[in-house]
Symmetry: C2
C-alpha cells in the first residue's frame, strides 16, 4: 500500500529555478495551468478546499489526495480543451465518475485537474434493434436501466454501487451478473476518448465484431484513466428476461455452498447471479437491513429466462444444493422480495461497517479458476481466524471471485499490519492458483506491487504502452504503475 | 491493394556501405542473421526455393512474398531464441500457422524468417472443471475438438478452414458460431508470447476475469503477428450441447432471409449458427458437392441446447421464416445430414471457384450493425449487378457480417479494377453505416488504407503502440500498417 499524499499549492506557483519547464516533480507550472484553464472556463474552475477534498477520495481505505481544481465539462469538446491545456502545461488529469472505486483509483496523487463527468449524463442514442446504446460517461447504470424501462432491453453489469458507465469501463468492472453476462470487457463496444496529447479518438465502429487493427477498446477498458479520458461509450444491451426468479439457500458449511456453485457452472446452468455470503455477512445484513436471514453460509441466486426455463434452472440448482448439504431453498418471483434480497447484498459494505465501530472497509478482490475456489476460500478462512480480524466474506463465486470486507481501524497500526499480512497471503495464494490479485476493482494505487508479482515481464509491456501514449505521465499518475515510471 | 513483392537475396548479403547497421531497407545484414540462425539450429533453417515459396502465401488473392528462411521451432524457448537472434540482426519475423488467412497476412513482404508452428501442436492441459484448455499455437481447431471428444466440452470458434488456434487468435477470427459463442476476442483467456525484444511474457492468469492492468490479451488478439509471436494460448471451452439440430430454409428474396435473421436475433433466440447463402452460392454447392439444394436465397441454421430447447428454438425460427416469405423449413437432428450441410458451406470458397475458370477468390468481409444489414446487402447486390462480376454471397448474418467471394481473373486488369471499385464501394458503405471493413479476416496487407478511413486518428494510437513494442518493425512488417511506418 502506498500512503503518499501530495498537497500541491498551485495557487502560489511552484518555481522552476532552472527554467527547463520541469517543476521538480516532472510536471509543469501549476499556477500557469490554472490561469489558462480560468481563461477558458472562468469560474467553472473549482478550487475551494471543500470541493477539492471531496474529489480526492473514493470509497476505499486510501487517504484523500485532492486535485488542484475540479472542472465539470459539458461535452466532448470541453473535455478535449481541458486535456489540451493540461497537456500544454504538463498538468496531471484525473477523470472522476461518482467516486465509488475501491483502490484509490481517483485520488489525485500528483494533484492536477479532476475532470468530473457529472454534467455529461446524456443517453445519446438507444439502438434497440442492434442491442446497444451510446452514452456519455457520466450516465450511471441505474439511470440507464430506468431509461430503458419498457424497451425490452436492459444493461446487466451491476457492481453494486450506482457507478457511472465511464467509471465502470475504466476499472473493467463486473459484479453480480458477470457470471452470465460478462464484464465491462465483453460489454463495451467502443469508446470515444481524449488521449494525453489532446487528440480525440474513437476505438471502434458500432458493428458487433471487427478485426480491424488493434483492439483499442479492450486497451482502454480497465486502463483506469491512465491512458485517456472517456467522452462517449457504446455498450451492449441484452433482452430483458421474460421471467426472473431469485432464491436463497442456506448451507451448513461454506464448502457445501461453494461446491454447489462449482457444479452449477459445470452443468452449464445459465444462472444470472450467484452470490456467496458467509455467516458473518448475513449477520451484518440482519443488523443493518432488518432482514431475518438464517445466520449461516448462504447462496443468493437469480435466474433469467422463460417461465419454464427459470423454473427448470431453479429446480436443477435446488437438487445440486441438496446434494451438497443445502437446507431450505426459498425461491420467489415476487419483485419486491427479490429487490429486498439484492438490496441487502448491495449494502454489504455499509452493513459490514456496523460490525466494528472504528473499522473502515478494506475490500480484497482475488479471483481464481473455479476449480480452486473451494480450497482458496477454506484457506482464507483459516487466515482470517488467525488474523483476529473481522472480515465478512462475499463473493461472485460463479466467476471464482470473492471479497473480504476487512474491517480495519486505520489508527491502529497493528490492526493495519495484520490486515496487510492477511491481504498479501490471499493474493499470493490466488497467484499460486493461477488467479489474479483483482477480479474487478483494478490496481489503483493499492496493488501496484501485486501487479508486478502477477504479470512479471508483462508489466514492462504495459509500461511501454503507457509511455508511448502518455510520455509525460499526466493521465492519472501513480495508478497501475509507480508514480515515477 | 498492395502488390509489392520483395525477393531478398539473403545468401549473398545485402551490403551496408556506411556501416550504420542499416542495409537500405531498415533491416540488418540478412546473411549474418542466417549464419547466426544456422549456428543455433543447423540444417533446420530451411531455405530451399520450394519451401520459401510455400510459406510466402496464404489462401488470398495476394501474391506470394517468400521469407528468406523457414524454421519450425519445437517449444517456446526455441521461438524465443529465433526472435532474439532476429532482433539482434534486425531480421523480420513472420509467424505462420497453416496459411489459411485471407488478407495476405503471412506473406513475408520484407523477407525475413518464417516461424512455422507445425511442430508446436501439443494440447498441454485440458482444465475441464474450469472450461479452458492450454495449447501450443500450432494446434488446429479440429485437432482440439477431436481431442475433446467424450469430455462433454468443445471449442466452438469455427472460421471454416481448419486453422491453427495461434492463427485464429492472431487475426481475431470468428466464423459461423460467433453469433452464439463470440469471437476469438471473447474466447482467448491468455497468451504467452515472445515480443520483438525477445522477452517472453504471459498476458494473464487463468482466472475467468481480471482487472489487473492493461488487457494485453486483447491487445495481442487481432494483432496479426505485428507485436509478438505466440507460444502458448489458453482458450475457453464450452459445454457440448446435449442436443443439436440443423435446418435449411429457402426464401424467395434475400431480404426475406435477412429480415428473418434480424428478428431472430432481436427475439433473443440463442441460435448457434445462422448463415446466409445467395442463389449463386447454392448453385456452386450443388455443382461442387453434389448436393441438391434449391437454388434460391437460403438460410442454414444450427440450434444447440436441450432436446426441448432445440425444438423450441427451431419452431420459433420456422414461424419467423414463414412470416418473411420463407418456404419449406427442413430440419434434422441427424449428424450425417448436418455435417453434409456444413461441409458444403465450409467448402464455399472451393465451390465458388468452379463458377469462373480463370477466377481466383477475393473475399470481402464487411460487418455492419444488424439494423443496417438488409439495406447493406440490397445495395451490395445492385453493385454486383453493375460490376458484371461473379460474386457468390455468404454471410455470418447474425453478426451483421457477410462476404462476397469475388471471382476475379487477376490477369485481366479490367476485371481487377472492377473488383477493386466494388470492394471500395462496399467498404465505404459499411463505414457509413457505422460498420467495419473487416469482421474477421483482419487488415493484413489488403486493407491498410481502409483501416485509416475506418479509424482516423486512432490509427496513430495503434501505430504508437506498435512503435513502442517493436521499434525496429521486425514483427510481420507491412501488415496493418504501411511497411515504412
Amino acid at each position: 500500500m502506498q500512503a503518499v499524499k501530495l498537497k500541491p499549492r498551485a495557487e502560489h506557483g511552484d518555481g522552476d529555478s532552472d527554467g527547463d519547464g520541469d517543476h521538480g516533480d516532472g510536471y509543469g507550472d501549476r499556477a500557469a495551468a490554472l490561469t489558462a484553464l480560468r481563461d477558458a472556463f472562468g469560474a467553472r474552475v473549482l478550487t475551494s478546499d471543500a470541493i477539492r477534498e471531496q474529489y480526492g477520495k473514493d470509497e476505499s481505505h486510501h487517504p484523500s489526495s485532492p486535485p488542484d481544481a475540479v472542472l465539470r465539462p459539458r461535452d466532448k469538446f470541453e473535455v478535449q480543451r481541458i486535456v489540451q491545456l493540461c497537456a500544454q502545461h504538463r498538468m496531471p488529469v484525473v477523470a472522476f465518475g461518482v467516486g465509488t472505486s475501491l483502490e484509490g483509483n481517483v485520488a489525485a496523487l500528483a494533484g492536477g485537474i479532476c475532470i468530473d463527468s457529472s454534467e455529461m449524463k446524456q443517453i445519446i442514442q438507444v439502438n434497440a434493434e442492434d442491442f446497444d446504446v451510446v452514452v456519455q460517461p457520466g450516465v450511471t447504470r441505474r439511470q440507464l436501466n430506468q431509461h430503458l424501462k419498457g424497451s425490452g432491453l436492459f444493461f446487466p453489469i451491476d457492481p453494486g454501487a450506482d457507478a457511472t458507465l465511464g467509471g465502470m469501463a475504466s476499472t473493467r468492472a463486473s459484479g453480480t451478473n458477470a457470471v452470465r453476462y460478462g464484464t465491462m470487457r465483453e460489454n463495451v463496444l467502443n469508446i470515444e476518448a481524449v488521449l494525453a496529447d489532446g487528440s480525440l479518438i474513437r476505438t471502434a465502429k458500432r458493428a458487433r465484431k471487427s478485426a480491424a487493427g488493434y483492439d483499442l477498446t479492450g486497451l482502454l477498458v480497465g486502463s483506469e484513466g491512465t491512458l485517456a479520458v472517456f467522452t462517449e461509450l457504446t455498450v451492449r444491451l441484452h433482452p430483458a428476461p421474460e421471467s426472473m426468479a431469485s432464491a436463497v439457500c442456506v448451507f451448513e458449511t461454506i464448502k457445501g455452498a461453494v461446491d454447489t456453485v462449482i457444479q452449477l457452472i459445470q452443468c452449464g446452468i445459465p444462472v444470472a447471479r450467484v452470490e456467496l455470503c458467509d455467516a458473518l455477512t448475513i449477520k451484518s445484513f440482519n443488523m443493518y437491513s432488518g432482514t431475518d436471514f438464517i445466520e449461516s453460509p448462504t447462496l443468493l441466486l437469480e435466474f433469467h429466462g422463460s417461465d419454464a426455463g427459470v423454473r427448470e434452472q431453479a429446480e436443477a440448482t435446488q437438487e445440486l444444493a441438496h446434494d451438497n448439504g443445502g437446507g431450505e431453498f426459498k425461491w420467489t418471483q415476487n419483485t419486491e422480495e427479490r429487490n429486498k434480497m439484492w438490496r441487502a447484498r448491495h449494502d454489504a459494505a455499509y452493513s459490514g461497517k456496523r460490525l466494528h465501530p472504528k473499522g473502515r472497509i478494506w475490500a480484497t478482490d482475488v479471483c481464481v479458476p473455479i476449480s480452486r475456489l473451494a480450497d482458496c476460500i477454506e484457506a482464507t478462512r483459516r487466515d482470517i481466524e488467525e488474523s483476529k480480524l473481522l472480515a465478512p466474506l462475499v463473493g461472485h463465486v460463479g466467476d471464482g471471485n470473492f471479497h473480504l470486507l476487512l474491517l480495519v481501524d486505520h489508527d491502529d497500526p497493528q490492526e493495519v499490519a495484520r490486515a496487510e499480512a492477511l491481504h498479501r497471503r490471499m493474493v499470493m495464494r490466488a497467484l499460486d492458483m493461477d488467479g489474479t490479485c483483482t477480479g474487478e476493482h483494478g490496481i489503483g494505487q493499492g496493488k501496484i506491487d501485486f501487479l508486478k508479482l502477477e504479470h512479471g515481464a508483462a508489466v514492462s509491456t504495459m509500461r511501454a504502452v503507457k509511455q508511448a501514449l502518455d510520455p509525460h505521465n499526466i493521465m492519472n499518475p501513480g495508478k497501475i504503475f509507480d508514480q515515477k515510471s
